[in-house]
């Protein structure tokens, strides 16, 4: 990373840290889902942008993380957020390995449809098995402890815009850094090679399926962490999290930010949440407006916001 982008990054992180001091509480609570989606989306983009596999069932892992936190906090009484996140990661790994083993044998539209089918399978499981998952009413989430601190003396908003905000931001930085290291490591290069020419990669001795699987599982874990963070401000894990339109929104956000840039997905998450919030207050027909944005995006600006900013709107995908 060169000096100037690094400076921009530091300034942006600093700006994010200042958000609770500058913006009204409402806007701070808007940043929370953006951070959560940010984590989920950089994971998603490892699979989509770097490996070239478009999953239309990624909401499964977000829902998995959300339900893990819900079950742990309200059913098992385990309130430590670190343990919750660890459990969410392990859970998503256990689920994603078998699913991934089946899915990575396919590419393009078949991969998309298979992941969509698995996502919907999980959705109907959540929806129908009432005793286990609470059915359509979902499971409540009890406020988790952060770093062993019982914060129940704070009221909900103070908890969310204070400790929980910095906790989420901290996780975004940690997971973002890990992902940055990963995509710039031999692993990242392998994935990009597989994306650009799987046959040639195989010819060169790259174990294509194995690397696709690794990418799939890592992206699932990131999804679960995002889901775990997403559900705490909402306070409820419900089956809609796993519905296929939610997966569609995940793809939407990633494209909005720009999938051929490392920071694109995070930018996309912030832009989407902000845009949606503004549209919802403006009109009851916000889906129409979002649809228009998406149409324009797909047709005119496939590089997303980052593609627009970084000028070099190259047709090639992948990180810089």
């Amino acid at each position: 990373m060169k000096f100037k982008p690094l400076l921009i990054l530091v300034v942006l992180i600093f700006a994010l840290c200042m958000v609770p001091f500058v913006l009204p509480a409402y806007y701070v609570t808007l940043v929370l889902p953006a951070i959560a989606y940010g984590i989920a989306l950089i994971g998603f983009n490892l699979l989509f942008g770097y490996t070239g596999l478009l999953s239309f069932g990624h909401a499964l892992y977000i829902a998995l993380g959300a339900y893990t936190v819900a079950i742990f906090t309200s059913r098992l009484g385990i309130t430590s957020m670190e343990l919750n996140i660890l459990a969410a990661v392990l859970c998503s790994m256990v689920i994603a390995i078998p699913i991934g083993l089946l899915c990575v044998r396919y590419v393009r539209i078949f991969f998309g449809m298979l992941t969509l089918a698995f996502g919907m399978l999980f959705h109907s499981f959540l929806f129908k098995f009432y005793e286990l998952t609470g059915g359509d009413s979902g499971i409540k989430v009890i406020r988790p402890h952060l770093f062993g601190q019982d914060l129940s003396h704070l009221d909900k908003t103070a908890y969310l815009i204070g400790p929980f905000f910095y906790y989420s931001l901290f996780l975004l930085l940690i997971f973002g850094f890990i992902m940055w290291r990963m995509v710039n490591s031999p692993l990242g290069n392998h994935l990009k090679t597989i994306r650009d020419n799987p046959r040639k990669a195989e010819y060169l001795g790259v174990k294509v399926h194995q690397f696709r699987l690794i990418s799939f599982v890592i992206s699932a874990m990131y999804g679960a962490v995002g889901g775990a963070l997403l559900v705490v401000p909402v306070g409820l894990a419900d089956p809609e999290l796993a519905y296929w339109t939610h997966s569609g929104n995940i793809v939407f956000m990633t494209i909005l930010g720009g999938f051929n840039h490392f920071f694109g997905p995070i930018v996309g998450a912030f832009a989407f949440i902000g845009l949606k919030d503004q549209l919802v207050t403006l009109t009851q027909y916000w889906r129409f407006a979002l649809g228009v944005v998406l149409v324009l995006l797909v047709i005119l600006l496939p590089g997303g916001i980052m593609g627009l900013l970084s000028k070099k709107n190259s047709p090639n995908r992948g990180g810089d």
Partner: protein, 293 residues
């Protein structure tokens, strides 16, 4: 025994409607190679428009006996919206599948709110207008004749489509274009025109499906995303791009659902997705799909 007859019949009715939607998906995928996520929106559009048209027809004193024809015609009329939407899709024909999929997702969002603007968010029904055709009573069960008519109409449409695709010159051109777009373009086929016609035909199948189902169940905004996954299940089981596959897939999904609801309601959709996954794993091209990749 009669209980099973009831299940089979409701399964076939469901399959008849599903076939129309999935058939539309298959047509469009076959020629344009786009999986149309907006097919559910067409379905809902057909349903709402059908209700409005039937309301108008009754107001102007048209006999209720003509219900099914009114619905068929209104399905065809509103399906012509496909001409406009194809214009939008045309911009991404040579782009990656991900973007094509996302554009149809956007169209779904747009149409959903168009429906909300025109008809509002509350579900609409036609009451029990379908009983105008009476019912057959067999022992302990009674079968509304309307359902039989819908099954009949769907079969007729399937046969008609089959005839067009297999026997007419237009059908040959369509199949040739689906097989090799460049080649048929080189041979002087007006591919732009074929695309418009096929996409509109696909939309019309979806809207007719919606219009026909509406006398038996309410038109709601939920039906948009719900039917998409079912239609997906059908095309995956049957094989992408195959009309015969859509027919068989629709029958499998329709009957499976009817039986699952009867035996163990929790399994309803779960079972369908399990079948979809099994098919994708063991026979990724579906029952009738051509080898891809």
């Amino acid at each position: 025994m009669t209980a099973y007859l009831d299940i089979i019949l409701s399964g076939i009715f469901h399959a008849a409607v599903l076939f129309l939607i999935a058939g539309g998906l298959q047509l469009v995928f076959g020629v344009q190679k786009i999986v149309n996520l907006a097919c559910g929106a067409f379905y809902a559009l057909g349903a709402y428009f059908g209700i409005t048209m039937v309301g108008l027809a009754i107001k102007y004193g048209i006999s209720q006996e003509l219900l099914i024809f009114i619905l068929l015609i209104s399905g065809i009329v509103i399906g012509l919206i496909g001409v406009v939407i194809e214009r939008l899709l045309r911009l991404v024909y040579d782009r990656e599948e991900g973007f094509q999929l996302l554009l149809t997702f956007a169209i779904m969002l747009l149409l959903e709110d168009v429906i909300r603007m025109i008809w509002g968010a509350t579900p609409k029904t036609l009451g029990n207008l379908s009983m105008v055709y009476g019912q057959i009573t067999l022992g302990s069960i009674s079968i509304p004749n309307y359902k039989l008519l819908v099954i009949f109409a769907s079969v007729a449409l399937a046969l008609g489509l089959g005839w067009i695709l297999q026997k007419t010159k237009f059908g040959k051109i369509v199949r040739a274009t689906a097989e090799n777009r460049r080649m048929s373009e080189a041979l002087g086929v007006n591919v732009i025109w074929i695309n418009v016609v096929i996409f509109t035909l696909g939309s019309i199948l979806g809207t007719i499906g919606g219009a026909l189902v509406v006398p038996t169940s309410a038109a709601s905004l939920e039906m948009i995303s719900e039917v998409v996954v079912e239609a997906f299940a059908v095309v995956v089981i049957g094989g992408l791009g195959s009309m015969r596959g859509a027919l068989v897939g629709a029958l499998i999904v329709g009957l499976m659902r009817a039986f699952a609801v009867h035996v163990y309601a929790e399994l309803e959709l779960l079972l369908i997705y399990l079948i979809v996954i099994a098919v994708l794993i063991f026979k990724p091209n579906g029952l009738y799909g051509k080898a891809a990749e």
